[in-house]
Amino acid sequence: MPAPVPNHPFVTRSSRGRLIEGAVFWLMRLATYFVLVCGLCVLGDIFLKGGRTVFQAEFPYVNVPFLTQAPETLYVFEHEGQKMQLGDRDFRAFREAATAKAKAAGQPAPQFRTESYVYSAGGIWPCIVGTVLLVVGSMSIALILGVASAIYLNEYAKDTPGVRAIRLAILNLAGVPSIVFGLFGFGLFVIFLDWNVSLLAGWFTLAFMVLPVVITASEEALKAVPKGFREGSLALGATKWQTIRKNVLPYALPGILTSSILGIARVAGETAPIMFTAAYVVRDKLPWEVEKVSDFFFQGVMALPYHIYVVSSKIPQNEYTARVQYGTAFVFLFIVAVIALSSILLRNHLRRRYQW
Protein backbone atom coordinates (compact mmCIF):
# COMPACT_ATOMS: atom_id res chain seq x y z
CA MET A 1 0.00 0.00 0.00
CA PRO A 2 1.55 3.37 -1.05
CA ALA A 3 1.93 6.05 1.55
CA PRO A 4 -0.94 8.51 1.46
CA VAL A 5 -0.06 11.70 -0.46
CA PRO A 6 -0.56 14.66 1.84
CA ASN A 7 -2.93 17.22 0.50
CA HIS A 8 -1.55 20.70 1.11
CA PRO A 9 0.03 23.37 -1.15
CA PHE A 10 3.58 22.76 0.13
CA VAL A 11 3.80 19.12 -0.93
CA THR A 12 7.35 18.07 -1.84
CA ARG A 13 7.85 18.07 -5.59
CA SER A 14 8.97 15.12 -7.69
CA SER A 15 12.32 13.81 -6.57
CA ARG A 16 13.78 14.12 -10.11
CA GLY A 17 13.86 17.90 -10.05
CA ARG A 18 15.54 17.88 -6.69
CA LEU A 19 18.08 15.36 -7.87
CA ILE A 20 19.11 17.53 -10.81
CA GLU A 21 19.31 20.60 -8.64
CA GLY A 22 21.45 18.75 -6.13
CA ALA A 23 23.75 17.44 -8.85
CA VAL A 24 24.23 20.86 -10.44
CA PHE A 25 24.92 22.36 -7.06
CA TRP A 26 27.52 19.71 -6.29
CA LEU A 27 29.21 20.10 -9.67
CA MET A 28 29.65 23.79 -9.05
CA ARG A 29 30.86 23.14 -5.58
CA LEU A 30 33.42 20.62 -6.83
CA ALA A 31 34.60 23.06 -9.52
CA THR A 32 35.21 25.64 -6.81
CA TYR A 33 37.13 23.15 -4.69
CA PHE A 34 39.18 22.12 -7.70
CA VAL A 35 40.22 25.72 -8.34
CA LEU A 36 41.00 26.18 -4.70
CA VAL A 37 43.11 23.05 -4.52
CA CYS A 38 45.08 23.98 -7.64
CA GLY A 39 45.76 27.45 -6.29
CA LEU A 40 46.79 26.13 -2.93
CA CYS A 41 49.10 23.53 -4.51
CA VAL A 42 50.90 26.17 -6.59
CA LEU A 43 51.24 28.64 -3.76
CA GLY A 44 52.04 25.97 -1.20
CA ASP A 45 54.76 24.50 -3.38
CA ILE A 46 56.38 27.91 -3.86
CA PHE A 47 56.04 28.89 -0.22
CA LEU A 48 57.40 25.60 1.08
CA LYS A 49 60.35 25.25 -1.27
CA GLY A 50 60.99 28.96 -1.62
CA GLY A 51 60.72 29.40 2.10
CA ARG A 52 63.54 26.89 2.51
CA THR A 53 65.78 29.13 0.41
CA VAL A 54 64.75 32.43 1.90
CA PHE A 55 64.49 31.45 5.56
CA GLN A 56 66.85 29.47 7.75
CA ALA A 57 66.69 27.89 11.15
CA GLU A 58 69.52 29.87 12.75
CA PHE A 59 69.71 33.56 13.53
CA PRO A 60 68.93 35.89 11.70
CA TYR A 61 66.37 33.41 10.34
CA VAL A 62 66.43 35.10 6.93
CA ASN A 63 68.95 34.06 4.33
CA VAL A 64 70.60 37.46 4.10
CA PRO A 65 73.15 36.60 1.38
CA PHE A 66 70.38 35.37 -0.90
CA LEU A 67 68.65 38.71 -0.61
CA THR A 68 71.71 40.94 -0.75
CA GLN A 69 74.21 39.32 -3.13
CA ALA A 70 74.48 39.01 -6.87
CA PRO A 71 74.05 35.59 -8.53
CA GLU A 72 77.23 33.57 -8.73
CA THR A 73 78.40 30.32 -10.19
CA LEU A 74 78.32 27.47 -7.73
CA TYR A 75 81.38 25.21 -7.47
CA VAL A 76 80.97 21.75 -6.07
CA PHE A 77 84.16 19.78 -5.31
CA GLU A 78 85.78 17.39 -2.94
CA HIS A 79 88.60 18.59 -0.75
CA GLU A 80 90.44 16.42 1.74
CA GLY A 81 87.60 13.97 1.72
CA GLN A 82 84.98 16.64 2.33
CA LYS A 83 82.25 17.61 -0.11
CA MET A 84 82.16 21.37 -0.51
CA GLN A 85 79.83 23.85 -2.21
CA LEU A 86 81.16 27.36 -2.69
CA GLY A 87 80.21 30.41 -4.69
CA ASP A 88 82.55 31.85 -7.26
CA ARG A 89 84.35 34.36 -5.07
CA ASP A 90 84.56 32.11 -2.04
CA PHE A 91 85.90 29.28 -4.18
CA ARG A 92 88.73 31.41 -5.57
CA ALA A 93 89.68 32.61 -2.09
CA PHE A 94 89.56 29.05 -0.84
CA ARG A 95 91.72 27.76 -3.68
CA GLU A 96 94.29 30.49 -3.15
CA ALA A 97 94.41 29.86 0.56
CA ALA A 98 94.76 26.11 0.02
CA THR A 99 97.52 26.60 -2.57
CA ALA A 100 99.40 28.99 -0.30
CA LYS A 101 99.09 26.57 2.58
CA ALA A 102 100.40 23.68 0.46
CA LYS A 103 103.32 25.79 -0.75
CA ALA A 104 104.24 26.75 2.79
CA ALA A 105 104.20 23.10 3.75
CA GLY A 106 106.37 22.31 0.74
CA GLN A 107 103.73 20.17 -0.93
CA PRO A 108 102.52 20.36 -4.54
CA ALA A 109 99.55 22.65 -5.20
CA PRO A 110 96.28 20.78 -4.66
CA GLN A 111 94.18 19.89 -7.67
CA PHE A 112 90.54 20.81 -7.55
CA ARG A 113 88.14 18.75 -9.61
CA THR A 114 85.07 20.87 -9.61
CA GLU A 115 81.64 20.82 -11.14
CA SER A 116 80.22 24.29 -11.75
CA TYR A 117 76.61 25.38 -11.92
CA VAL A 118 75.80 28.89 -13.15
CA TYR A 119 73.61 31.23 -11.06
CA SER A 120 73.17 28.61 -8.38
CA ALA A 121 75.07 30.43 -5.67
CA GLY A 122 74.87 33.94 -4.33
CA GLY A 123 71.58 35.80 -4.32
CA ILE A 124 69.13 37.82 -6.32
CA TRP A 125 69.72 41.36 -5.06
CA PRO A 126 70.22 42.93 -8.53
CA CYS A 127 66.97 41.32 -9.69
CA ILE A 128 65.05 42.76 -6.74
CA VAL A 129 66.52 46.20 -7.42
CA GLY A 130 65.74 45.95 -11.12
CA THR A 131 62.16 44.87 -10.58
CA VAL A 132 61.50 47.62 -8.06
CA LEU A 133 62.97 50.20 -10.47
CA LEU A 134 60.87 48.87 -13.33
CA VAL A 135 57.70 48.91 -11.25
CA VAL A 136 58.21 52.39 -9.84
CA GLY A 137 59.17 53.92 -13.17
CA SER A 138 56.45 52.33 -15.24
CA MET A 139 53.90 53.10 -12.55
CA SER A 140 54.80 56.79 -12.60
CA ILE A 141 54.66 57.01 -16.37
CA ALA A 142 51.42 55.06 -16.60
CA LEU A 143 49.74 57.13 -13.90
CA ILE A 144 50.72 60.45 -15.44
CA LEU A 145 49.72 59.50 -18.98
CA GLY A 146 46.68 57.49 -17.92
CA VAL A 147 45.18 60.01 -15.53
CA ALA A 148 45.78 62.83 -18.00
CA SER A 149 43.98 61.05 -20.80
CA ALA A 150 41.19 59.88 -18.51
CA ILE A 151 40.62 63.48 -17.43
CA TYR A 152 40.60 64.57 -21.04
CA LEU A 153 38.18 61.83 -22.12
CA ASN A 154 35.86 62.18 -19.16
CA GLU A 155 35.87 65.90 -18.43
CA TYR A 156 36.79 67.75 -21.58
CA ALA A 157 36.03 65.68 -24.66
CA LYS A 158 32.50 65.74 -25.96
CA ASP A 159 30.83 62.40 -26.47
CA THR A 160 31.42 62.20 -30.21
CA PRO A 161 31.81 59.01 -32.27
CA GLY A 162 35.54 59.76 -32.43
CA VAL A 163 35.88 59.76 -28.66
CA ARG A 164 33.86 56.58 -28.41
CA ALA A 165 36.17 54.96 -30.95
CA ILE A 166 39.18 55.99 -28.87
CA ARG A 167 37.62 54.46 -25.79
CA LEU A 168 36.97 51.23 -27.64
CA ALA A 169 40.53 51.15 -28.92
CA ILE A 170 41.87 51.62 -25.40
CA LEU A 171 39.72 48.78 -24.12
CA ASN A 172 40.93 46.54 -26.90
CA LEU A 173 44.51 47.40 -26.10
CA ALA A 174 43.99 45.60 -22.80
CA GLY A 175 43.53 42.36 -24.71
CA VAL A 176 46.77 42.53 -26.66
CA PRO A 177 49.15 39.72 -25.61
CA SER A 178 52.14 40.84 -23.63
CA ILE A 179 54.64 39.42 -26.11
CA VAL A 180 53.19 41.78 -28.71
CA PHE A 181 53.79 44.67 -26.37
CA GLY A 182 57.32 43.39 -25.90
CA LEU A 183 57.91 43.36 -29.65
CA PHE A 184 56.30 46.76 -30.00
CA GLY A 185 58.57 48.17 -27.32
CA PHE A 186 61.55 46.51 -28.93
CA GLY A 187 60.70 47.96 -32.32
CA LEU A 188 59.83 51.46 -31.15
CA PHE A 189 62.03 52.20 -28.17
CA VAL A 190 64.99 49.86 -28.52
CA ILE A 191 65.52 50.03 -32.28
CA PHE A 192 63.74 53.05 -33.71
CA LEU A 193 64.44 55.49 -30.87
CA ASP A 194 67.78 53.78 -30.29
CA TRP A 195 67.44 53.55 -26.53
CA ASN A 196 68.95 50.07 -26.56
CA VAL A 197 67.92 47.54 -23.98
CA SER A 198 67.36 49.96 -21.15
CA LEU A 199 65.34 50.89 -18.12
CA LEU A 200 63.67 53.64 -20.10
CA ALA A 201 62.52 51.28 -22.84
CA GLY A 202 61.21 48.85 -20.23
CA TRP A 203 59.39 51.60 -18.37
CA PHE A 204 57.57 52.78 -21.43
CA THR A 205 56.75 49.28 -22.65
CA LEU A 206 55.30 48.28 -19.29
CA ALA A 207 53.54 51.63 -18.96
CA PHE A 208 51.85 51.20 -22.35
CA MET A 209 50.74 47.79 -21.26
CA VAL A 210 48.98 49.02 -18.11
CA LEU A 211 47.61 52.18 -19.67
CA PRO A 212 44.25 50.61 -20.59
CA VAL A 213 43.77 49.52 -16.98
CA VAL A 214 44.79 52.91 -15.63
CA ILE A 215 42.62 54.86 -18.05
CA THR A 216 39.56 52.70 -17.53
CA ALA A 217 39.96 52.75 -13.75
CA SER A 218 40.52 56.50 -13.71
CA GLU A 219 37.47 57.14 -15.86
CA GLU A 220 35.34 55.02 -13.54
CA ALA A 221 36.68 56.86 -10.51
CA LEU A 222 36.06 60.26 -12.10
CA LYS A 223 32.53 59.27 -13.06
CA ALA A 224 31.83 58.29 -9.47
CA VAL A 225 32.41 61.87 -8.27
CA PRO A 226 28.95 63.49 -8.08
CA LYS A 227 28.12 66.07 -10.71
CA GLY A 228 27.03 68.43 -7.95
CA PHE A 229 30.65 68.93 -6.87
CA ARG A 230 31.60 70.08 -10.35
CA GLU A 231 28.59 72.36 -10.76
CA GLY A 232 28.99 73.76 -7.26
CA SER A 233 32.57 74.63 -7.94
CA LEU A 234 31.93 76.12 -11.37
CA ALA A 235 29.06 78.19 -10.01
CA LEU A 236 31.53 79.79 -7.60
CA GLY A 237 33.59 81.07 -10.49
CA ALA A 238 36.16 78.30 -10.72
CA THR A 239 37.56 77.36 -14.10
CA LYS A 240 37.18 73.85 -15.34
CA TRP A 241 40.76 72.97 -14.51
CA GLN A 242 40.52 74.47 -11.01
CA THR A 243 37.38 72.44 -10.48
CA ILE A 244 39.03 69.24 -11.58
CA ARG A 245 42.18 69.84 -9.59
CA LYS A 246 40.54 70.90 -6.34
CA ASN A 247 37.15 69.32 -6.33
CA VAL A 248 37.18 66.23 -8.52
CA LEU A 249 40.61 64.64 -8.68
CA PRO A 250 41.19 64.46 -4.90
CA TYR A 251 38.00 62.47 -4.48
CA ALA A 252 38.74 60.21 -7.43
CA LEU A 253 42.29 59.51 -6.36
CA PRO A 254 41.64 56.54 -4.03
CA GLY A 255 39.91 54.65 -6.81
CA ILE A 256 42.49 55.60 -9.40
CA LEU A 257 45.43 54.57 -7.26
CA THR A 258 44.05 51.26 -6.10
CA SER A 259 43.12 49.91 -9.49
CA SER A 260 46.22 51.27 -11.15
CA ILE A 261 48.63 49.87 -8.61
CA LEU A 262 46.95 46.49 -8.74
CA GLY A 263 47.20 46.59 -12.53
CA ILE A 264 50.85 47.45 -12.33
CA ALA A 265 51.55 44.70 -9.83
CA ARG A 266 50.17 42.29 -12.41
CA VAL A 267 52.12 43.71 -15.28
CA ALA A 268 55.32 43.82 -13.29
CA GLY A 269 55.17 40.04 -13.32
CA GLU A 270 55.21 39.82 -17.08
CA THR A 271 58.41 38.53 -18.60
CA ALA A 272 57.58 39.02 -22.25
CA PRO A 273 57.47 42.83 -22.35
CA ILE A 274 60.82 43.24 -20.64
CA MET A 275 62.79 40.39 -22.14
CA PHE A 276 63.46 42.37 -25.33
CA THR A 277 63.41 45.84 -23.85
CA ALA A 278 64.96 46.06 -20.42
CA ALA A 279 66.18 42.80 -18.92
CA TYR A 280 69.71 41.46 -18.88
CA VAL A 281 70.49 37.85 -18.13
CA VAL A 282 73.26 39.01 -15.89
CA ARG A 283 74.80 42.32 -15.03
CA ASP A 284 77.58 42.81 -12.57
CA LYS A 285 77.02 46.44 -11.74
CA LEU A 286 74.10 47.65 -9.73
CA PRO A 287 71.94 50.26 -11.46
CA TRP A 288 73.26 53.21 -9.45
CA GLU A 289 76.87 52.38 -10.22
CA VAL A 290 76.94 54.61 -13.30
CA GLU A 291 79.24 57.38 -14.39
CA LYS A 292 76.69 59.87 -15.67
CA VAL A 293 73.14 60.38 -14.48
CA SER A 294 71.87 59.86 -18.03
CA ASP A 295 73.49 56.42 -18.11
CA PHE A 296 71.09 55.41 -15.40
CA PHE A 297 68.16 55.49 -17.77
CA PHE A 298 69.93 53.77 -20.62
CA GLN A 299 71.15 50.69 -18.82
CA GLY A 300 69.54 47.30 -18.77
CA VAL A 301 68.73 45.68 -15.45
CA MET A 302 68.18 42.23 -14.08
CA ALA A 303 64.60 41.50 -13.09
CA LEU A 304 62.91 38.82 -11.02
CA PRO A 305 60.51 37.40 -13.62
CA TYR A 306 63.22 37.23 -16.24
CA HIS A 307 65.62 35.68 -13.77
CA ILE A 308 63.08 32.96 -13.02
CA TYR A 309 62.78 32.36 -16.74
CA VAL A 310 66.55 32.19 -17.17
CA VAL A 311 67.28 29.88 -14.25
CA SER A 312 64.44 27.56 -15.13
CA SER A 313 64.86 27.25 -18.86
CA LYS A 314 68.15 28.67 -20.04
CA ILE A 315 70.57 26.68 -17.91
CA PRO A 316 70.96 22.95 -17.29
CA GLN A 317 68.65 21.83 -14.54
CA ASN A 318 69.91 20.06 -11.48
CA GLU A 319 69.41 19.85 -7.75
CA TYR A 320 71.18 23.18 -7.22
CA THR A 321 69.10 25.34 -9.56
CA ALA A 322 65.78 24.52 -7.89
CA ARG A 323 66.91 26.43 -4.82
CA VAL A 324 67.27 29.65 -6.80
CA GLN A 325 64.10 29.13 -8.82
CA TYR A 326 61.87 28.69 -5.84
CA GLY A 327 63.60 31.34 -3.79
CA THR A 328 63.21 33.88 -6.58
CA ALA A 329 59.56 33.01 -7.10
CA PHE A 330 58.96 33.36 -3.38
CA VAL A 331 60.58 36.79 -3.17
CA PHE A 332 58.74 37.88 -6.28
CA LEU A 333 55.35 36.85 -4.92
CA PHE A 334 56.19 38.61 -1.71
CA ILE A 335 56.98 41.88 -3.50
CA VAL A 336 53.78 41.72 -5.55
CA ALA A 337 51.79 41.06 -2.38
CA VAL A 338 53.42 44.03 -0.66
CA ILE A 339 52.55 46.31 -3.57
CA ALA A 340 48.95 45.13 -3.61
CA LEU A 341 48.62 45.45 0.14
CA SER A 342 50.06 48.93 0.23
CA SER A 343 47.66 50.05 -2.50
CA ILE A 344 44.75 48.82 -0.42
CA LEU A 345 46.04 50.53 2.71
CA LEU A 346 46.53 53.74 0.75
CA ARG A 347 43.01 53.56 -0.58
CA ASN A 348 41.54 53.05 2.86
CA HIS A 349 43.53 55.97 4.16
CA LEU A 350 42.38 58.30 1.38
CA ARG A 351 38.80 57.07 1.57
CA ARG A 352 38.59 58.08 5.18
CA ARG A 353 39.65 61.59 4.26
CA TYR A 354 37.04 62.14 1.58
CA GLN A 355 33.60 60.80 2.22
CA TRP A 356 30.38 62.03 0.85
Binding site: E231, G232, A235, L236, G237, A238, W356
Partner: protein, 271 residues
Protein backbone atom coordinates in the same frame (compact mmCIF):
# COMPACT_ATOMS: atom_id res chain seq x y z
CA UNK B 1 6.16 80.43 10.17
CA UNK B 2 2.41 80.33 10.60
CA UNK B 3 0.67 77.19 9.42
CA UNK B 4 -1.48 77.77 6.38
CA UNK B 5 -3.92 75.51 4.60
CA UNK B 6 -2.54 74.39 1.23
CA UNK B 7 -4.99 76.31 -0.89
CA UNK B 8 -5.59 79.40 1.18
CA UNK B 9 -2.46 81.38 0.49
CA UNK B 10 -1.93 84.28 2.75
CA UNK B 11 0.14 86.95 1.13
CA UNK B 12 1.87 89.22 3.61
CA UNK B 13 1.05 92.87 3.46
CA UNK B 14 3.24 94.65 0.93
CA UNK B 15 6.54 95.54 2.49
CA UNK B 16 8.11 98.91 2.27
CA UNK B 17 9.71 98.40 -1.08
CA UNK B 18 11.28 101.77 -1.68
CA UNK B 19 12.67 102.66 -5.07
CA UNK B 20 13.56 99.76 -7.34
CA UNK B 21 16.11 99.50 -10.09
CA UNK B 22 16.34 96.89 -12.78
CA UNK B 23 19.45 94.72 -12.72
CA UNK B 24 18.64 91.90 -15.14
CA UNK B 25 16.81 92.36 -18.41
CA UNK B 26 15.74 89.33 -20.38
CA UNK B 27 14.62 90.21 -23.90
CA UNK B 28 12.86 87.89 -26.34
CA UNK B 29 14.95 85.06 -25.01
CA UNK B 30 14.81 81.69 -26.75
CA UNK B 31 16.77 78.66 -25.67
CA UNK B 32 17.07 75.08 -26.92
CA UNK B 33 18.60 71.84 -25.78
CA UNK B 34 19.68 70.55 -29.17
CA UNK B 35 16.51 70.23 -31.19
CA UNK B 36 14.24 70.67 -28.19
CA UNK B 37 13.30 74.27 -27.53
CA UNK B 38 12.83 74.93 -23.81
CA UNK B 39 12.23 78.69 -23.66
CA UNK B 40 10.18 80.82 -26.04
CA UNK B 41 10.38 84.62 -26.25
CA UNK B 42 10.82 85.30 -22.58
CA UNK B 43 10.75 88.99 -21.60
CA UNK B 44 11.46 89.85 -18.00
CA UNK B 45 12.99 92.70 -15.99
CA UNK B 46 14.27 91.69 -12.57
CA UNK B 47 14.72 94.20 -9.76
CA UNK B 48 17.91 94.65 -7.82
CA UNK B 49 17.82 93.78 -4.11
CA UNK B 50 14.47 92.11 -4.38
CA UNK B 51 13.34 88.50 -4.32
CA UNK B 52 11.80 87.26 -7.53
CA UNK B 53 10.10 83.87 -7.59
CA UNK B 54 9.80 81.66 -10.68
CA UNK B 55 6.81 79.36 -10.48
CA UNK B 56 5.15 77.00 -12.90
CA UNK B 57 4.46 73.32 -13.48
CA UNK B 58 7.27 70.85 -13.79
CA UNK B 59 9.19 71.05 -17.07
CA UNK B 60 8.10 74.59 -17.89
CA UNK B 61 11.66 75.89 -18.07
CA UNK B 62 12.25 77.56 -14.69
CA UNK B 63 15.56 75.82 -14.07
CA UNK B 64 16.58 76.38 -17.65
CA UNK B 65 16.07 80.13 -17.41
CA UNK B 66 17.77 80.29 -14.02
CA UNK B 67 20.83 78.48 -15.33
CA UNK B 68 20.97 80.81 -18.32
CA UNK B 69 21.47 83.71 -15.93
CA UNK B 70 24.93 82.47 -14.89
CA UNK B 71 25.59 80.52 -18.06
CA UNK B 72 25.66 77.15 -16.33
CA UNK B 73 23.93 75.80 -19.43
CA UNK B 74 27.16 76.40 -21.36
CA UNK B 75 28.35 73.20 -19.75
CA UNK B 76 25.68 71.09 -21.40
CA UNK B 77 26.53 69.89 -24.89
CA UNK B 78 24.36 71.12 -27.72
CA UNK B 79 22.60 74.00 -26.03
CA UNK B 80 21.78 77.00 -28.23
CA UNK B 81 20.43 80.45 -27.61
CA UNK B 82 18.26 80.96 -30.63
CA UNK B 83 17.20 84.53 -30.24
CA UNK B 84 17.12 87.30 -27.71
CA UNK B 85 19.57 88.28 -25.01
CA UNK B 86 20.07 88.59 -21.29
CA UNK B 87 21.59 91.80 -19.94
CA UNK B 88 22.95 92.30 -16.47
CA UNK B 89 23.70 95.94 -15.70
CA UNK B 90 23.08 96.50 -19.38
CA UNK B 91 25.80 94.07 -20.50
CA UNK B 92 24.83 91.18 -22.75
CA UNK B 93 26.14 88.22 -20.73
CA UNK B 94 26.48 86.06 -23.82
CA UNK B 95 28.43 88.74 -25.62
CA UNK B 96 31.93 88.09 -26.92
CA UNK B 97 33.62 90.19 -24.22
CA UNK B 98 32.01 88.35 -21.33
CA UNK B 99 33.91 85.66 -19.43
CA UNK B 100 31.53 83.09 -17.95
CA UNK B 101 33.94 82.60 -15.03
CA UNK B 102 33.76 86.28 -14.07
CA UNK B 103 30.00 86.25 -14.55
CA UNK B 104 29.62 83.33 -12.15
CA UNK B 105 31.59 85.17 -9.51
CA UNK B 106 28.94 87.89 -9.63
CA UNK B 107 25.95 85.61 -10.07
CA UNK B 108 26.08 82.81 -7.51
CA UNK B 109 23.94 79.73 -7.34
CA UNK B 110 22.40 77.45 -4.74
CA UNK B 111 21.29 74.09 -6.01
CA UNK B 112 18.19 72.04 -5.38
CA UNK B 113 20.20 69.19 -3.95
CA UNK B 114 22.55 70.68 -1.40
CA UNK B 115 26.08 69.92 -2.48
CA UNK B 116 28.58 70.64 0.27
CA UNK B 117 32.03 69.50 -0.78
CA UNK B 118 33.61 66.69 1.23
CA UNK B 119 35.90 69.18 2.93
CA UNK B 120 35.70 70.94 6.27
CA UNK B 121 33.00 73.53 6.85
CA UNK B 122 35.71 76.18 6.83
CA UNK B 123 37.14 75.01 3.51
CA UNK B 124 33.65 74.83 2.03
CA UNK B 125 32.97 78.47 2.82
CA UNK B 126 36.27 79.77 1.49
CA UNK B 127 36.30 77.57 -1.61
CA UNK B 128 35.47 80.45 -3.93
CA UNK B 129 38.06 82.69 -2.29
CA UNK B 130 40.78 80.09 -2.52
CA UNK B 131 39.99 79.84 -6.21
CA UNK B 132 40.46 83.59 -6.47
CA UNK B 133 43.77 83.27 -4.68
CA UNK B 134 42.91 84.93 -1.36
CA UNK B 135 45.53 83.61 1.03
CA UNK B 136 45.47 85.84 4.08
CA UNK B 137 44.42 83.75 7.05
CA UNK B 138 42.91 86.60 9.02
CA UNK B 139 40.91 87.76 6.04
CA UNK B 140 39.64 84.23 5.42
CA UNK B 141 38.68 83.80 9.07
CA UNK B 142 36.79 87.05 8.93
CA UNK B 143 34.92 86.09 5.77
CA UNK B 144 34.06 82.65 7.13
CA UNK B 145 32.47 84.16 10.19
CA UNK B 146 30.68 86.85 8.23
CA UNK B 147 29.33 84.42 5.62
CA UNK B 148 28.22 81.85 8.17
CA UNK B 149 26.53 84.55 10.21
CA UNK B 150 24.95 85.81 7.00
CA UNK B 151 23.65 82.31 6.34
CA UNK B 152 22.37 82.02 9.93
CA UNK B 153 24.62 79.05 10.54
CA UNK B 154 27.42 80.51 12.64
CA UNK B 155 26.03 79.66 16.05
CA UNK B 156 25.41 76.08 15.08
CA UNK B 157 28.84 75.35 13.62
CA UNK B 158 31.28 77.80 15.17
CA UNK B 159 32.82 75.08 17.34
CA UNK B 160 33.22 72.56 14.54
CA UNK B 161 34.48 74.60 11.63
CA UNK B 162 37.08 71.99 10.82
CA UNK B 163 34.73 69.06 10.71
CA UNK B 164 33.41 67.83 7.39
CA UNK B 165 30.58 69.80 5.80
CA UNK B 166 29.00 66.53 4.76
CA UNK B 167 28.31 65.71 8.40
CA UNK B 168 25.75 68.51 8.77
CA UNK B 169 22.00 68.03 8.64
CA UNK B 170 20.20 68.65 5.37
CA UNK B 171 19.04 72.13 6.34
CA UNK B 172 22.47 73.06 7.67
CA UNK B 173 24.05 71.77 4.47
CA UNK B 174 21.81 73.99 2.39
CA UNK B 175 22.67 76.99 4.54
CA UNK B 176 26.33 76.10 4.22
CA UNK B 177 25.88 76.21 0.44
CA UNK B 178 24.31 79.64 0.81
CA UNK B 179 27.21 80.76 2.99
CA UNK B 180 29.59 79.45 0.35
CA UNK B 181 27.74 81.42 -2.30
CA UNK B 182 27.73 84.69 -0.37
CA UNK B 183 31.38 84.36 0.65
CA UNK B 184 32.44 85.47 -2.83
CA UNK B 185 30.11 88.49 -2.47
CA UNK B 186 28.04 88.10 -5.59
CA UNK B 187 25.35 90.56 -6.57
CA UNK B 188 22.79 88.01 -7.58
CA UNK B 189 22.01 84.66 -5.95
CA UNK B 190 20.08 82.10 -7.95
CA UNK B 191 18.28 79.48 -5.93
CA UNK B 192 16.80 76.42 -7.59
CA UNK B 193 14.22 74.92 -5.23
CA UNK B 194 16.54 75.42 -2.26
CA UNK B 195 14.06 73.99 0.22
CA UNK B 196 12.67 71.04 -1.67
CA UNK B 197 14.67 68.56 0.41
CA UNK B 198 14.16 70.30 3.74
CA UNK B 199 11.70 69.88 6.58
CA UNK B 200 9.38 72.78 7.55
CA UNK B 201 11.67 74.06 10.30
CA UNK B 202 14.75 74.12 8.09
CA UNK B 203 12.63 75.65 5.33
CA UNK B 204 11.51 78.42 7.67
CA UNK B 205 15.13 79.15 8.53
CA UNK B 206 16.16 79.37 4.91
CA UNK B 207 13.18 81.57 4.11
CA UNK B 208 14.04 83.89 6.95
CA UNK B 209 17.56 83.98 5.62
CA UNK B 210 16.36 84.88 2.14
CA UNK B 211 14.45 87.72 3.69
CA UNK B 212 17.61 89.02 5.36
CA UNK B 213 19.80 88.54 2.32
CA UNK B 214 17.53 90.77 0.28
CA UNK B 215 19.17 93.81 1.84
CA UNK B 216 22.38 93.10 -0.02
CA UNK B 217 21.60 90.69 -2.80
CA UNK B 218 19.26 90.23 -5.70
CA UNK B 219 17.64 86.85 -5.23
CA UNK B 220 15.87 84.73 -7.79
CA UNK B 221 14.23 81.64 -6.44
CA UNK B 222 12.56 78.74 -8.20
CA UNK B 223 9.94 77.07 -6.09
CA UNK B 224 7.09 74.61 -6.32
CA UNK B 225 5.56 75.84 -3.14
CA UNK B 226 3.02 78.58 -3.67
CA UNK B 227 3.19 79.43 0.02
CA UNK B 228 6.89 79.86 -0.22
CA UNK B 229 6.67 82.09 -3.25
CA UNK B 230 4.04 84.16 -1.49
CA UNK B 231 6.05 84.38 1.70
CA UNK B 232 9.47 85.28 0.38
CA UNK B 233 9.13 87.02 -2.95
CA UNK B 234 8.37 90.56 -3.99
CA UNK B 235 7.61 89.68 -7.56
CA UNK B 236 6.57 86.41 -9.14
CA UNK B 237 6.89 85.12 -12.68
CA UNK B 238 4.63 82.31 -13.81
CA UNK B 239 5.87 80.08 -16.62
CA UNK B 240 4.02 77.53 -18.64
CA UNK B 241 5.46 75.31 -21.39
CA UNK B 242 8.55 77.43 -21.84
CA UNK B 243 6.71 80.75 -22.03
CA UNK B 244 6.35 83.51 -19.49
CA UNK B 245 2.63 83.76 -18.83
CA UNK B 246 2.47 86.47 -16.22
CA UNK B 247 4.90 88.57 -14.24
CA UNK B 248 3.82 90.98 -11.56
CA UNK B 249 3.99 91.85 -7.88
CA UNK B 250 3.60 88.70 -5.85
CA UNK B 251 0.48 90.06 -4.28
CA UNK B 252 -1.14 90.67 -7.63
CA UNK B 253 -0.16 87.22 -8.94
CA UNK B 254 -1.72 85.48 -5.97
CA UNK B 255 -4.70 87.69 -5.22
CA UNK B 256 -5.64 89.15 -8.53
CA UNK B 257 -3.92 87.50 -11.51
CA UNK B 258 -4.68 88.84 -14.95
CA UNK B 259 -4.35 85.51 -16.73
CA UNK B 260 -6.80 82.65 -16.09
CA UNK B 261 -3.96 80.11 -16.38
CA UNK B 262 -2.09 81.84 -13.59
CA UNK B 263 -5.22 81.92 -11.51
CA UNK B 264 -5.75 78.22 -12.07
CA UNK B 265 -2.16 77.37 -11.17
CA UNK B 266 -1.82 79.47 -8.03
CA UNK B 267 -5.13 78.28 -6.71
CA UNK B 268 -3.94 74.72 -7.18
CA UNK B 269 -6.34 73.69 -9.90
CA UNK B 270 -3.62 72.47 -12.25
CA UNK B 271 0.09 71.99 -12.34
Amino acid sequence: MEPSAPLAIRVPAPRDVGATSTIIEIEDFNFSYGAKQALFDVNLKLDARRVTAFIGPSGCGKTTLLRCLNRMNDLIDGTVINGGRIRIHGVDINGPEVDAIELRKRVGMVFQKSNPFPKSIYENVIYGLRIQGVGSKSRLDEIVEKSLRGAALWDEVKDRLHESGVGLSGGQQQRLCIARAIAVQPEVILMDEPCSALDPIATAKVEELIHDLKKDYTIIIVTHSMQQAARVSDKTAFFYLGRLVEYDDTQTIFMNPANPQTEAYVSGRFG
